[in-house]
Amino acid sequence: MTEHRTLALDLLAGEIAEKVCRIDTVLDAAERDAPSSEHQVVSAIRDMVDVLKHELFYALSAWREGRKPSRPEEPKTALGRQMLFADGLMRVVNHFHPVHLQLGLLSTSWIGSETQIFLRGLFRTSPAAIERISVVASREYAFAEAGLPGETLGRGGPEDNSGNQTVVVLLPRIELRNPLNWAMGAHEAAHAIMHMRGVRESLERIWSRTRGLQRESFFAWTQELLADYLACTCLLDAYPVSLALYAFTSRQRIDSVSVSHPELLRRIRDLMNLFLPVWGPPKLSPVFLEPPGFGSASLFFPAGESDIGDLSVLLNDLVDLTLHLPQTRAQGVNRTEYPFQTHELLEALKGIVVESQRDLRTEHPKAEYDSATRKALLKRLNQHVPIGSFPSSPEQPAVLKCQSAELKDHLEEGKPLTGDCTDLKKDLFNSIRELPTTMTQIINTGWHYRLTVSHERFSQAFLNEGYSLDDPKKGFLKRLDDYRAHIEERDKLLLKSIEIAHYVDVLRELPDGA
């Protein structure tokens, strides 16, 4: 339990360090592409980032102490000690938001086509209208969707001549080139899908028996939870992990309730507790539904198969920790009960989900990302090979083919192939043919890489040994630069994978002779 909690806080520390690195990347790009009149703005933001880096240095130094095991005679104080040292991390989070806001002063933001490819790939079998996705950089560190009729423009969303609606997804500026956190963008795109499937109208009917503020909030909250569910269906593990880490770094208090949104904290738990077991797939093990600390089942993979240990326990701990962190501690947690308890309501909502999912993937998403595929893709990513495509047939038969007598003579002794070897060649070529990987596979492999390789790298650089702030060879700033290079390399690999997957998908669908 304590180990998981330490791991969860390590992950939080890594997430914050990544965000600080990403601000530097945005500023470098602005210095390169923005007009020279903006260079002073860049310089001013750099000063703010310098302060943020100093805070991060002190927070990580403190946390390095906090994660050491407490003395055996004081087992009960372990959590308190950890929280004390993790306090600095939350201070960095609080100061990160105003810095992100300043990035909005920059005129350039490079939004690549990979974001659209990714979102379209997730909801690829949806109505044609979802083909029009526009991604916009938001000033706040927040994800949002716009462009739905009646929400932003009053009467109708942006439309083209053919009547197709454009779905507009807002991503934080520093996440525009980070495919891992586009998982949160999928939640926003899911809102658009629900709208196109007429879910809003169905929900309005369901909540018509309630009144006033309660009706308004339940109406909005149900949509949020359904969008969570759809995103989870498409993204598997990647979504709850992304949501849990977002909950940590969000400006919105994780325990605050608004008319439009339930608490982030509850969204993660309810996603697990209410929706998934009732409506699977994906199915959750009942063990997961136990209070944190008692369960030991993996979320979607069989127990013991997750590379980071037990993902579900980790997620539970991530949620549980938020109760103890300073930003929530002040006012306590308001545990709002949701009105989903009656069978009738659940059935009605289930009908809506089935309707919303009608044009999504037909097959079980888990089948697309089984354990063997995950390991093979992760191995490729570890070797810095993009994972946009994957062999269509198992590799073994191809190797066996190479062992056939005729081929062996040709390969080893250079003897010419006799007779018609078309079939041999065809088999050999077929065995190396690759198929596109799905966005789900890419993003989940990316998260596994983030939670294993990147996390290991982060721990080695920042948590295992002491260092000074600005030693040019092994000081904190140098380590942060190196870690940033690692993150950028990972991002590029994933972006390239998304691009490759798209082209393989498009080109293989072309008929012969096209």
């Binding site: 470098d28 090979v385 946009g388 190479c402 081929l407 190396i432 596109p436 691009e499 082209y503 080109l507």
Partner: protein
């Protein structure tokens, strides 16, 4: 010896098992069309780099590395072509592109990148001088695209524009990254890293020493002493005036002949 299609396919099979040992060309979406008698066709990626007009007259490789990187970033424009759109390569223009494929060459092979005849006849060159791919290289290949024809060429990402042939060699003792590795692991069009060569490092060190000596020799010590005396006097002149005076003396340093 140049590998034929069977040898290429076998090497690709090995690459599927372990990308660190075998040949990797991924994505291999259409082997029958992509693998020729003695070469493999490569597709165009979506990343391009072009040089844009700037105020810089030239790039002096003797400048500090960080300055060069900054200058290169400012006169290079990165272009990403979305699906179904094309990059237009105008006559006599030059751009860096990249292959869609990630290529890993085994330690006992070296590669030779060439254009495809169909596009070559339209005036497209895919490399100007650096078509050799070293043993152990791993990453997307950078294409030095040039249009030597008279009509603009539309380049669509995903289209086969180049081919690579594999030549057997004695296995190298060190991997590409250990030997030099400037362009290893790149995923798109990689800009020149020539300024990192050891020869330039030496030139740079020598240049810095000359500049330092010039500065010391040309530094207006007398003027500096004069200014300090003035500042310590009972009625010192405004600081701005002293500063301007000192700058006017230092300004001559850049024109001083090398020592």
């Amino acid at each position: 010896m140049v590998l034929n299609e069977i040898h290429l396919a076998k090497r690709l099979c090995e690459g599927l098992r372990d990308s660190m040992k075998g040949l990797v060309i991924t994505p291999m979406m259409d082997p029958e069309r992509q693998i020729n008698g003695t070469s493999v066709d490569l597709r165009l990626g979506a990343d391009f780099k072009v040089v844009k007009p700037t105020k810089y007259t030239h790039l002096d490789p003797r400048l500090p590395k960080e300055d060069i990187k900054r200058m290169v970033a400012r006169y290079t424009e990165e272009i990403h072509i979305p699906p179904d759109a094309a990059f237009v390569l105008h006559p006599s223009s030059f751009a860096l592109g990249s292959t869609l494929e990630h290529v890993s060459i085994p330690a006992d092979c070296c590669g030779r990148l060439e254009g495809r005849s169909g596009l070559g006849r339209m005036g497209l060159q895919v490399h100007s001088t650096a078509g050799y791919v070293d043993a152990g290289f791993s990453g997307a290949l950078t294409l030095e695209l040039q249009n030597v024809g008279t009509l603009p060429i539309l380049l669509f990402p995903g289209v086969r524009v180049a081919q690579i042939s594999l030549h057997l060699c004695y296995a190298t003792t060190k991997g590409y990254e250990e030997r030099q590795g400037s362009y290893s692991r790149q995923t798109g069009a990689g800009g020149s890293q020539a300024f990192g060569d050891v020869e330039y490092e030496k030139l740079r060190a020598r240049h810095a020493e000359v500049r330092k000596r010039q500065f010391v020799e040309a530094f207006p010590h007398d003027a500096y002493k004069e200014i300090v005396d003035l500042m310590n006097s009972k009625d010192p002149p405004p600081v701005e005036a002293l500063w301007q005076y000192l700058i006017s003396k230092i300004g001559a340093i850049g024109e001083a002949p090398p020592a």
